[in-house]
């Protein structure tokens, strides 16, 4: 435990610059959107007090916006506003609106009717009543709304990193992908602290007495604006091309770090989620992205893979990994899973992925079509000889593989199957396996080597020269460290790759990563 804390502390010190930048970005994002939300929500709240017939619609819309899952809302923003801070701020703003509008509305309505009547009877005008009576008396309730909105925003702002808007999410999501606990904590702890601190501060503001209210009312906007300034909007590319890399890619030796050290590639880079990256490239918000070589979207969005002529991306051959005790318990499992080995190459996998990711066919159907075409499919035997639990990570390829394995087990053995799909990233999946929550899942040799074993650079250099040495190394290590067995590879190599729009690559004559570097270095 102590060692863990120390290393976390070391990590934070080592990454202090980045941490500070991300924290400031995080605060900035939160408060810029909050500011706008107050500027929009307060007048809207006042409006619906005056025009009650509008209150249903306005509160209804704000309420519906709030129920949209944050990732989905960010996704909706991309076609409208592209990537980067703009869509992130708009999405955060939409989340913050409801509590502010609703609390302004209920706050003003909640002002004692006798007090309002006295104000009218003394001859105050509508605006005088609003500013001198209604708003000051509704202020504690309005501040409560702002407080709720702030806490929501600090949380949702972690997702901003997924669409290239920065913030502490970069560490969190990078850490999840890289199986790096320190990195996750370096993002999660400060963002949790921010939420707690802002909540506390605003709760103090909320309870302030009328005596000090005036000072607070003046100080608050000033403070908000100062906090907004923390967000130094990531500078727009001065260079020719913009790259979008996933948080995971950014932190990896076989990713951005390798691109810099081995190729000397210098490109304006923003951090973005894998979920929106391809589309952003297609829509020309990005020029170069870090993708996976078998991704169906490669085909869908007409992208080409740049040849990795200096071999920095290690092989990522997929194979099921199974706990030894499971293989002992179900002796017929290994031959059944191996039925698939050598059957799917890169282009086959890309097409299968294209069918699920882009044509939106169900992974189940795609899996069955494939098995039938390859004469592997058999009807279910309906046995009940124990349950095999299959896991999968949260993307299409893994769903397809999980479905194929499920059908094979049901057709060739008497075991029942339960599938736990969508287990987030590598860390979540692997932990589920070691903690006996699943029995096996498809993993990639490169991921095993880098993310799980966290091999040293020397070893990486040594074993990534070809696919077999990588496979052999991880197989040996997993067996001795975790008592987990790598079965035979399925055949395809879902490695990292840099990709560009086909058209642009052709126009610029870029075929390899070295070509790209040369192009960027030309003044």
């Amino acid at each position: 435990m102590n060692e863990q804390q120390q290393t976390l502390w070391q990590f934070m010190q080592q990454q202090a610059g980045k941490l500070q930048e991300q924290t400031l970005q995080h605060i900035g994002l939160t408060f810029i959107s909050l500011c706008i939300a107050v500027l929009v929500g307060l007048p809207l709240g006042i409006l619906i007090v005056r025009k009650k017939q509008l209150s249903g619609i306005v509160l209804g819309i704000a309420g519906v916006l709030q129920t949209i899952p944050s990732i989905a809302l960010l996704g909706f923003m991309i076609p409208l506003l592209g990537i980067g801070p703009k869509p992130a701020i708009v999405a955060l703003l939409l989340y913050a609106l409801l509590p502010i509008i609703r609390n302004t509305y209920t706050g003003i309505l909640g002002v004692d009717a006798a007090v309002k009547e006295a104000a009218v009877a003394m001859g105050m005008s509508k605006w005088q009543i609003l500013f001198k009576v209604e708003l000051p008396l509704a202020m504690p309730v309005i501040f409560a709304g702002i407080r709720t909105a702030t806490v929501i925003n600090v949380g949702v702002a972690t997702l901003a990193s997924l669409i290239a808007a920065g913030g502490l999410g970069e560490f969190i999501f990078g850490g999840i992908s890289l199986n790096n606990t320190n990195m996750i904590l370096a993002g999660a702890i400060p963002s949790a602290l921010l939420a707690v601190i802002f909540d506390l501060l605003l709760s103090m503001v909320q309870k302030v007495s009328f005596k000090k209210l005036k000072r607070v009312v003046y100080a608050f906007p000033v403070l908000l604006i100062v906090l907004c300034l923390f967000y130094i909007i990531p500078a727009k590319s001065e260079g020719k091309l913009t790259a979008g890399f996933t948080p995971e890619f950014m932190g990896r030796q076989d990713g951005d770090l390798g691109l810099r050290s081995k190729y000397g590639l210098k490109i304006h880079t923003i951090v973005i989620s894998d979920a929106v990256m391809y589309k952003a490239a297609f829509e020309k918000h990005l020029d170069v992205i870090s993708g996976y070589s078998t991704d169906g979207r490669l085909k869908a969005y007409d992208l080409v893979v740049l040849d990795d002529d200096k071999h920095i991306f290690p092989p990522y051959y997929a194979a099921p990994i199974v706990r030894d005790d499971v293989l002992k318990k179900f002796p017929d499992l290994e031959p059944t899973l191996n039925l698939l080995s050598g059957k799917i190459n890169d282009s086959v996998m890309t097409v299968l992925n294209y069918r699920t990711d882009y044509l939106h066919q169900s992974p189940e159907r795609v899996a069955k079509d494939f098995l039938v075409a390859n004469k592997l499919w058999r009807p279910e035997r309906g046995g009940n000889d124990g349950i095999v639990r299959i896991g999968s990570k949260i993307f299409g390829e893994q769903y397809i593989l999980a479905n194929m394995y499920s059908m094979l087990i049901k057709g060739y053995t008497d075991h029942e199957v339960s599938t736990k799909t969508g287990l987030g990233g590598t860390k979540i999946c692997f932990d589920a396996l070691t903690n006996n929550q699943i029995d096996f899942y498809p993993e990639y040799t490169g991921t095993g080597l880098l993310a799980i074993l966290q091999a040293s650079p020397e070893i990486i250099n040594e074993v990534t020269v070809n696919k077999d040495s990588t496979y052999n190394y991880v197989q040996r290590q997993f067996e001795s460290k975790y008592q987990i067995k790598w079965l035979k590879p399925i055949g395809f190599n879902n490695a990292y790759a840099l990709m560009m729009r086909q058209q642009q690559a052709r126009k610029l004559g870029i075929k390899t990563i070295s070509n790209l570097k040369q192009f960027l270095d030309k003044k």
């Binding site: 004692d112 009877a121 003394m122 009576v133």
Partner: protein, 320 residues
């Protein structure tokens, strides 16, 4: 001074006020009396346009109030609410200064006037910088009154101003109310459902029922010449006390024996009601009071003599 002319107010199908007319003289104190829901508040609020009438006109100083800007109209009319409606986020001083600020008085003038009112209403100057919730109900009600009086408006509207107070506090404030010179100069319309209060404070009373005025007149007129059983029943409770309050010493003047002035006795103006005079007796043997009329005529009477005159007066009324 104030003329309400065939005014009605309908809320949907409810005739809250139904063709009400009355007039209030300068410096008169008119009471709107009636059971809950009979339309008193609605009538009152139409006078400062908190509620717009469905039909009819209201004139103040001969001017139709509908032709004036409501904010301007309201700044000239003091308004006191049942639960005072003080601004909880303003100090007492700030509360009192609301109307002066609207009228753009300079600070000194406001402060001077505030201090004057605080003294008249028996409020300690140290209250000025505290917030209303730190005061008792009776004190808050006085601040509400000060707020309404600060700009010295000629007209004062009061909606059950003492309704929220306990009996002891209320009778104390009643006494102060009657003694306050500020109020003597004002034309006041006050709403109450308390008959005793109406008789104690009102020059004239409009007794309302179901949105209509059943009878209007002086307390004595209502008591001794009720127009129907509703009025009679309404005043039935504690009738004797009401009679004492309705009859003024001057009404009994002719029935009282001529007696010379006694120097030691306490002295009453003939305009005082009988209740107040009777209340002052401390029941010492041979105790008397002085009643003075038109500044120069004085009669000295005992409790028994007052009561005898009272019964004679009542007999007389009954046979009229």
């Amino acid at each position: 001074m104030i003329k309400v002319d065939k005014v009605s107010k309908y809320f949907g199908g409810v005739k809250a006020v139904d063709g009400v007319s009355f007039e209030v003289e300068e410096q008169e104190n008119l009471i709107l009396l009636g059971t809950s829901g009979c339309g008193k508040t609605t009538t009152l609020k139409m006078i400062n346009r908190l509620i717009e009438p469905t039909q009819g006109c209201i004139y103040i100083h001969g001017k139709n109030i509908m032709e004036q800007q409501p904010e301007i109209l309201r700044r000239g009319i003091g308004y006191v609410l049942q639960n005072n409606g003080l601004f909880p986020h303003y100090t007492v001083a700030q509360n009192i200064a609301v109307v002066p600020n609207l009228l753009k008085w300079d600070k000194q003038k406001t402060e001077k006037r505030t201090a004057e009112l605080m003294e008249k209403l028996h409020l300690d100057a140290s209250y000025l910088n505290i917030y209303p919730n730190e005061l008792s109900g009776g004190q808050q009600q006085r601040i509400g009154l000060a707020r309404a009086l600060v700009s010295d408006p000629p007209v004062l509207l009061m909606d059950e101003p003492f309704g929220a107070l306990d009996n002891v506090t209320r009778s104390k404030i009643h006494a102060e109310f009657k003694a306050l010179d500020e109020l003597k100069r004002k034309t006041i319309i006050m709403v109450t459902h308390d008959v005793q209060e109406a008789f104690e404070l009102g020059d004239r009373i409009c007794l309302m029922d179901k949105g209509k005025i059943v009878q209007s007149g002086t307390p004595a007129q209502l008591l001794f010449n009720p127009v129907n059983d509703f009025v009679k029943d309404f005043l039935k409770h504690q009738r004797l006390q009401l009679e004492f309050k309705a009859i003024k010493l001057i009404d009994l003047w002719e029935l009282l024996p001529e007696l010379n002035k006694e120097a030691k006795a306490s002295s009453f103006d003939a305009g005082t009601n009988l209740w107040e005079a009777l209340e002052s007796f401390k029941f010492n043997n041979g105790e008397t009071i002085n009643i003075s009329k038109d500044q120069n005529q004085v009669k000295t009477v005992s409790f028994e003599q007052l009561m005898t005159a009272f019964y004679q007066y009542k007999n007389h009324q009954a046979h009229e």
